[in-house]
Structures are given as C-alpha cells and as structure tokens.
C-alpha cells in the first residue's frame, strides 16, 4: 500500500517513525515537505538564533535516514492540490503521488495581522530555518529590532536578536508578558529580569503601521498610542494558526483546524491528520508532547492494529526564557470559587502560586524555582486531594533522603561534569548532549538512550529538569496514561477489575479476554498479571513460573556473576546455636565464598551455584527466608522486654508471631516489618512498610515507611492494645495493599496515591471490612508450602536446577 505524508515536520515524521516500529513493511512511504531541509527540531530554532546550536545540530532525520528506510522524500515541494477521488496529491513543482492512505501534517503558520506595511522587506514571522537565517543575517548589518508580540516565541526571538548584538524592543498588547502562561505578578518579574539583560518593552501598546524607506525596506513603526520607534528588522510573533488550507481546499471538513476523531482520522476515512494543523475535540495543540501522543495513536491505526485512542492532552508549559525558569499549568488565574496559595520572595526572585478548587490543584505558576513543577502537574492531572499535605504543599515534595546524586535537587545548579545517575554513572553533560544530538523529547527517550534514571529511578526528577531546561518551551511532561506496558492500553486498575469481573484464572485467558496486543506479553506485564491473578483468586488461579522473575522462580537471589544467595528464615531474627552450626557446616561443605549478616537480621550465604541450591536446602533443612521475592521479607525486632531494661513489650515474640502468621505471602513488592519494644525504636520501625512500636499501654502501628532510594518515614496508623489486634490491623492493612496496589508499588507509593485517610477509613472506621480483609489474607496463606522443602521433596518436577552436560 502507498502512504503519502504531506508535511515533513516533527509530527508527520514522528508518526512515520512510530509506524516503522510496528509495521515496517506495510507501506511504500512518500513524504512531501515545503522546506528545503529534511525533518529538523523546530524547538531548537531559538538556540540556533542564540548561537548555542547550528542548523546541522538540529536535524532529526538525515537524508540517509530516509534512504535507509526506503522513504521517498520530496523537499521544497509544497502540495497545493489533493484529488481525493483518484487519490493523488499534486505539488507546485509538478510532482505528484498516488496514495492509499494520506497523512496530513501541515503544521501551523505564523499569524500575520493586517497591518499596513507588513509586506515590506525586513518584516518577518518566526517559524522556520529560513526566518532564523534571515534574522541572523539582518543582525550582522542592522541595529534596531522591534519584536511585536510578548509571548513565548516573541521573547525567544527578542532574546536571540539581543545575543546577536541588536538593540531590541518588544511590543506587547497586553498589560504583562506571556499572559497565556503567567499571571501579572510573574509577568512583571519576568519583564524586570529581561530589562536587566538589556531588552526594552512597551506594554499595552498596539501597532498602527509599519513604514519603509525608498528601497522598500522597513525603517520604523508607528503605534496607536502616538509614538514611533526606528526598526531595521521587525519580527511579527503574535501567534500561530493551524495550517489547514490544503485540507479545506480538498473538501475535508475543517473548523479552525483539520477536524479529526480520536483515531486521528479526518472525515475522509483514507485521510489522517496529526500535529498542529489538527483540531481535535475543538482544540489545536502547539506543544510537542501532544503531537507525539497523536503520532503514536495515528501510527497504530495506519498499521491496521485498530487500538489506541487519542483523548486530548492536558498541557503544561515549562519555559526557558533566557535562562529564567518558568512553569505554568491549568487555570493559573482563578476566580471567586477558587482559593490560592502564594509564596513570593521578590528579592530572591522566586514566586509560586497554586490555584485550588474543591481540594484539588487546578492550576499554578512557578517563577524562578520550577523544581516542583512536575510534581504539582502530576497532582493536577490525577485530581489528587491535597488537604493532607496542604500545609507544606508550597515547599514541594521533601528532597530529604534522596540518595545517589550528591544531594542535588536542582539540575540547574549542577555542572556538566556532575553525576546525575549514580547507578549508571551518567553525568549532566552526557544527558544534555544526548538530548541535543539525538533529538530526545521524553523521559523514556532519555532513559533508553543514556540509561540515566533507568535503574533505581531516584534521579528521574533531575533528568526531567535537564530535559525541560534543554528543550525549553518544547518540553511537556509525559502523559499520565498508566498503561501496564506497551502490550495493552489498559492501566493496572482496569486489568485488576477485569480479572475480578471475568474471573480469569490463567495468563493466556486474561490476555485474550483483556485484549493484549502481543501474543505472550513482555517481561514487564507478565509478572504483574501473574501477581494480579494469584492475589485476586488465591488457591484457584494458576501460578506461572515462566512469568516470574528468576529470583522467585528458583527461590534464591541472582547475583552479578550468575550465582545465587541463600537466606534461610530465622523468625523475628532469632536463631539458635544448632541453626548456626548447621549454617556453618553447609557453608563449609559448599565452599560458600561469603557469609554475611543482612540488614534484616538474617544470615546470607552468597555465591552459590544454581545446581547446588537444592542440595544445600536439603542439608540446611530450614525454611526459605523469601529474601528474593515480592513477598514478606523479614520482621526485624529489637531485644524487647524479655531482656532489655527499657523494654515495655515483648517485641521479639511479637515479631516471630507476625512472621509466622504472614509467612509465604506474595505482594506487589517486597514487604518489610519491624517491631520495637519501646519508643527508642531500636528495630527502626519508622522506615518499614509496617512498623510496630511497643509502648507501656499497647502497640503503635506505623505504615508506609521506606529506607530505600528515598527515605520515607512511616506514618502513624493507630494504636491498639493487644497482640491479636496487632496481627489483625497490620494483616488487614497488608491485605488491602495486596488487593489494590499496582504491581511494584511499595506501600509508601500506594499510600501516596490513595491517601492515608483512605487507608484509615478501610482499616479503622470499617471494623467489619478490616476483619474480612484479615480473613482473606489468612485464607490466601492457608496450606502454603515451603518452596525449598517442596523442591527437595520433588526434585524430578524441578528440572530447571539441573544443567544438561554434553
């Protein structure tokens, strides 16, 4: 089949790239572009004007790339007619091409107001490489530049021309700059700092006419307010408009843009449209993130897969205007029904305003310190209630406890040599270079290409800041679509609901029923599905070892050299001389290279060969410590009242009882408990999923703590009196987490999403529900067998541990 793409820009070519990924052989592709260049990164025109980049740097797809993918590319070829009946497009230069499917990606064009003199030489829009080159050339000869329009594009042009050495004045109709992104306070702050850099401004000013000299070149401009300015170069940057003239002339329905449905199809089923030329549900987008979301959906339908809908984007703007950080999203003005929270430090140059409506963030502006922009934006899109964190909302998510990047939380303060990703050793400079050279736009792109943020994820916030400040206005945060992975459109909650409703009991049935797009999933979704099946239908769903990560498949923890570690259960961290002797004998017999005490008070035998595991388990004759699973790990305890002179409760026995009661429990992620016998808290209950602290009058239960990547203190859930209540309350908490959290969520992440209040309501207010949840947990754990003993007993069923020697 033949696919013709009209428009060789970012949206069109992104669609082609997505299409090549999923259906490389389906189409003969022909691309028409009216510029003389292959696809380039339009966002990077400002850095080119500011001498930070060259044209060559910003080319996204080279001519070789088109050739390599057998794409016919016509540059400097503007299509001016579509014959939909015979399915042919015609270019001004006489070229034509037949199509089976047509993709319109004609972008937008600068809006040129009808001011007398707008056609004079030296009057420009600011849209493409030609405009940029014209400005750079003019700056070499002329002195006075006037930029009409104090929006994002106008300010970028003004800044660039100023760096090129021109004397620049910005004219703006509104009372303050960037009124579509900023409120008045932030707009004035921005103006002051730009004035300090040498730019001049006339606000609330309207252009009347542009005047030229004898040669027909601009020489000045008159304003309705009754004054004039000299101008050798005049840039009109008063907005862009979707470019839909071609579609309209072909009789395709347009309304301020090419009208498309949620599959990016126009009213002609053979014709699709993406990008800035489109009007989707009445909205046209000028940011890059929505274009890419459209591209993905469109490619899917062009490839005949028929899944995926574009449902519109919520956008935010993170701008880099001459190195000043700005962020805005949603409704940042507010009305009588909204509340606002403001932090304003005019000397420090920081201004933050959040607009709240019905306990939710509906918009905001950040000036000077945009570190927390994505955090606010995420809450805005998720519609998350904020009353629990309202008192410290303005100060952002606490950066305390972030590890792995030298305590930095502001990428702008880091030098290029500083390490951002401590797991993969990636420096800031490497990330910046990759974004510029390889044309990256999303966090996922950066993770894939540089590996930064792809391991433990703690530096993703920093990576996002670097991406935002490198791309400037082109950056928009990733969409909130929380699809489980690329194999399905469904998110975790939807998948769980379908498993429950349709009672799927094995992975193939679930994949067929829910509509997986791949035959047997991937390494991301299969473990999640397996867990959801088992946690929803205990004793009924079929466990699939091939969908478990190796550690859970062989009940040992894989190490960097392919050996394993063996950690036997020692309930509550209590052991005996007999156990220790046995462990020592086993370590000797199998020449274990290292014996180590773990953070969870256990003994770890490291460096064991896979083929020795079963024999070793047999010799140890101790239960599995589950130190390898998304499962209950350990219950750490302090000495407690039995020996300790300060102890108020028998914390060791409590720990042993919890560990025995919840042994063999699988969960969305690892689960760690701790029990301390007094508020001195020697078992570190404050950083555990469930932390229990004995006090004289009973037990306090804390939940959602985490001592890992980001240290999180556990939050107080409740105080109970008895030993049995500790089991019931903490068990019910864990069961609700098991049933409702997303796979790979620790308890802290889950609580962060649903709110502690929800947890309290389920566990404290709903006594009946708590008892039921606890019963469900006990039912799920009933008759569980120890996996090590099982493999020792039935060796012939577990061939996996044997190596085939030939």
């Amino acid at each position: 089949m033949k696919l013709v793409v009209v428009g060789n820009g970012m949206a069109g070519m992104r669609t082609v790239e997505e299409l090549l990924k999923i259906a490389p052989e389906l189409y003969d592709i022909t691309v028409f572009g009216d510029e003389p260049y292959p696809n380039y990164n339009r966002i990077m025109l400002s850095p080119v004007l500011a001498n930070e980049q060259t044209i060559d740097d910003i080319i996204l797809n080279t001519r070789e790339w088109y050739a390599e993918h057998h794409i016919t590319l016509h540059t400097s070829a503007r299509i001016n007619r579509i014959d939909r009946k015979s399915r042919v497009v015609y270019a001004e230069d006489g070229t034509s091409a037949e199509y089976d499917r047509l993709l319109l990606a004609t972008g937008s064009k600068p809006f040129i107001p009808s001011i007398p003199g707008k056609d004079l030489e030296g009057v420009l829009g600011y849209r493409d490489i030609k405009d940029t080159n014209d400005m750079i050339a003019a700056a070499k000869i002329y002195r006075h530049a006037v930029v009409v329009g104090g929006g994002l594009l106008g300010l970028e042009a003004a800044n660039g021309l100023s760096i090129q050495g021109m004397d620049v004045t910005v004219i703006h109709r509104n009372e303050w700059l960037l009124e579509k992104q900023l409120d008045k306070t932030a707009g004035i702050m921005l103006q002051k700092s730009l004035e300090a850099k040498g730019l001049k401004f006339h606000l609330s000013t309207n252009t009347e006419k542009i005047i030229g000299d004898e040669s027909g070149r601009v020489k000045g401009v008159y304003f309705k307010e009754g004054f004039e300015l000299p101008a050798d170069l005049l840039v009109l940057a008063v907005g862009i408009r979707p470019n839909f003239a071609l579609a309209e002339s072909a009789g395709i329905h347009c309304d301020k843009g090419v009208v498309v449905n949620d599959t990016m199809q126009t009213f002609d089923p053979r014709v699709y449209a993406v990008g800035e030329c489109v009007a989707h549900r009445g909205i046209s987008y000028g940011l890059v993130a929505p274009l890419f979301e459209m591209a993905k959906v469109c490619a899917n339908h062009l490839a005949n897969y028929g899944i995926g809908l574009y449902k519109g984007s919520v956008t935010s703007t993170k701008l880099k205007v001459t190195g000043i950080d700005l962020f805005s999203a949603g409704d940042f003005t507010g009305d009588e029904e909204t509340e606002e929270i403001v932090l304003h430090d005019s000397v420090g140059g920081v201004y933050k305003k959040l607009i709240i409506k019905n306990d939710k963030i509906v918009g905001g502006v950040l000036y000077g310190d945009t570190t927390d922009g994505s955090w606010y934006f995420q809450m805005l899109r998720d519609g998350k209630p904020i009353h629990e964190i309202r008192d410290h909302l303005m100060f952002g998510p606490s950066a305390i406890g972030d590890t792995g990047h030298q305590g930095q939380s502001q990428a702008s303060l880091m030098t290029n040599e500083m390490e951002v990703c401590g797991c993969n050793g990636v420096c800031k400079g490497t990330i910046v270079k990759a974004i510029q050279d390889q044309g990256l736009f999303t966090i996922d792109d950066v993770k894939k290409q540089t590996k930064a943020g792809s391991s433990c994820g703690s530096c993703v916030g920093l990576v996002e800041q670097i991406l935002a400040s490198t791309l400037g206005g082109g950056y928009a945060p990733p969409s909130t679509s929380k699809a489980v992975c690329g194999c399905t459109e469904k998110n975790h909650e939807e998948v769980r609901a379908e498993i429950r409703t349709h009672k799927y009991l094995n992975i193939p049935d679930a994949m067929r029923g829910i509509g997986w797009s791949t035959p047997n999933g991937c390494a991301t979704c299969r473990p999640a599905l397996n867990y959801y099946l088992l946690s929803t239908w205990p004793h009924e769903a079929k466990d699939d070892p091939q969908s478990r990560f190796i550690n859970e498949r062989v009940h040992a923890n894989i190490q960097k050299d392919g050996t394993y570690s063996v950690i036997p259960r020692m309930y509550g961290g209590v052991t005996t001389p007999d156990q220790l002797r046995k462990i020592a004998d086993v370590a000797d017999k199998y020449a274990v290279p290292m014996v180590k005490v773990t953070g969870g008070q256990r003994i770890d035998l490291l460096g064991v060969k896979k083929e020795d595991l079963v024999n070793m388990w047999s010799d140890l004759d101790m239960p599995s410590g589950y130190a390898y699973g998304k499962s209950i790990r350990t219950v750490k305890t302090c000495v407690g009242s039995e020996f300790c002179r300060f102890g108020t409760q028998n914390s060791t026995q409590m720990g042993i009882d919890i560990e025995k009661a919840f042994d063999h429990m699988w969960a969305p992620h690892k689960v760690k408990f701790a029990v301390s016998g007094c508020p001195r808290n020697c078992a570190e209950s404050g950083i555990k999923d469930v932390g229990i602290i004995g006090v004289d009058s009973g037990w306090e239960i804390y939940v959602g703590g985490n001592g890992g990547i980001k240290t999180e203190a556990a939050q107080f859930l409740c105080k109970v009196k008895t030993h049995d209540e500790v089991l019931e309350y903490s068990g019910a908490f864990i069961q609700v987490y098991r049933e409702e959290a997303r796979y790979l969520d620790r308890t802290v992440h889950w609580i962060e999403r649903v709110g502690l209040e929800y947890v309290k309501q389920r566990i404290l207010e709903d006594a009946e529900g708590r008892k039921d949840a606890y019963e469900r947990l006990l039912y799920a754990l009933q008759d569980a067998v120890d996996p090590w003993a099982e493999r020792v007993k039935n060796r012939e069923k577990y061939k996996e541990f044997e190596i085939i020697a030939i």
Binding site: A523, I550, I558, E800, I804, I806
Partner: protein
Amino acid sequence: MKNWVKVAALHEIPALGARVVRSNHIDIGVFRLEDNRIFAINNSCPHKGGPLSEGIVYGDKIACPLHSWKISLVDGKADEPDVGQTACFNTKVEDGFVYLELKD
C-alpha cells in the same frame, strides 16, 4: 561437518522457558517459545555476561535477568538502542527430542 547433539526431550524444556546446556565450559541457553520453536544462544548477555537462560522469554526475545537488556533469540542481537550480539546455534526437533548443532 555437521555436529548435531541430542540435548533433551522437548517436554523437559518449559514453554516460554529455557534450559542450560554445558559443553566444553561454554554454557548454551536453549529456549522454547510458546509455539514450540527452539532457539539456542550463547548463555551470556553482551552487556555484562548475565545468564540469559534465567530471564523471561516473550515473543522471540529474552529479557536478561541482570539489567533487562532485551536479546533476540533469532539473531542474538540486543534491542536498540543497546548494542551487542551473542552467538547463535542451530537447533532442530526430531521425534520429540531437541538437537543442538555445535560449532567445531
């Protein structure tokens, strides 16, 4: 010269799973796809030498258990943008048994 070696009965390799075959101190991962096709590759990830046989098989790929590089079982190549390749071996299934062609 053809050097086919019988390694196991087909049913001894789980679908979407693998077994390790050890020959002359080289480990070869023998993988079975959902449709019962069998592939064999050098059991060492081109990234950091992870034992690929221990990963998760999906489609005709294996996700390395150490750092999740995705390796094609068909040609041994790493998924882009990662770069690397591990050696492949020919396989066949006859009368329910899996054979591996060893290189000299």
